[in-house]
Symmetry: C2
Subunit: 109 residues, 2 copies
DNA sequence: TCCCATTATTGCAATATTACGATGGATGGG
DNA sequence: CCCATCCATCGTAATATTGCAATAATGGGA
């Protein structure tokens, strides 16, 4: 065992979960926040900014790229990462929908 | 290794991440959606609803309880779970703030 | 009291994640 | 061409997660 049974869930549920999972690590939250805050997009400054090894940062960047929320373009000898506006918006909407479904009615139990 | 270095991140980053992580599994997304959809709050019907073993559901419920997003009250021999309105609202705000920081300016790279 | 239904917990196996050092590939400067 | 820099990937160790069967623990009814 130890293998998530994604077959039994809907596509939406799996997508929402993978998004959440991608953001479910403080380093990746920090990376996103850094990319958002920076006017220009950042490259390997992230390694200095956060206190993690280069290999670790690279791995986190890869996971964020996998869910599409960031994109990287080669810039000479370094790589420039930034938020993908389309995917960001799509995700923002999904979160909003998810949270909007519940309207905080009175506490039931 | 293999141990998240939470010390090097801010309290907000860690909290946001733990929230996201809690929702970072399709079963837990499904549980939340079921609780939200149901007028009354659901108990162990979740075990039938989702196709997972009782022990597994119980474990997921525990994780959701740990981040405070749901609460369970004993109802005779069964337990009634439901969304915690306060925590839900708090989380909704945190997400909104997180996503609001980026305003989808033109693609930079 | 003795069972039954409902949850929680425990124990275990399989898989996934996290972190890092080391290595490798690409680019730019000399 | 060589070297340094930047980044990705590999390999590895430690830890975490996922899922289930089996086993408690609790409360309600007979």
């Amino acid at each position: 065992m130890g293998l998530t049974k994604s077959e039994i869930f809907s596509k939406e549920q799996n997508k929402l979960a993978s998004m959440m999972k991608a953001l479910g690590h403080p380093a990746r939250i920090a990376i996103i926040q850094t990319l958002v805050k920076a006017q220009a997009c950042i490259c390997g400054d992230l390694v200095e900014e956060l206190g993690l090894a280069q290999a670790t940062i690279s791995q986190h960047l890869k996971e964020l790229k996998n869910v599409g929320i960031i994109q990287g373009t080669i810039e000479g000898t370094s790589v420039c990462y930034c938020i993908d506006p389309k995917v960001w918006e799509q995700y923002r909407m999904m979160f909003e929908t998810f949270f909007g479904k519940y309207s905080g009615r009175e506490n039931c139990c």
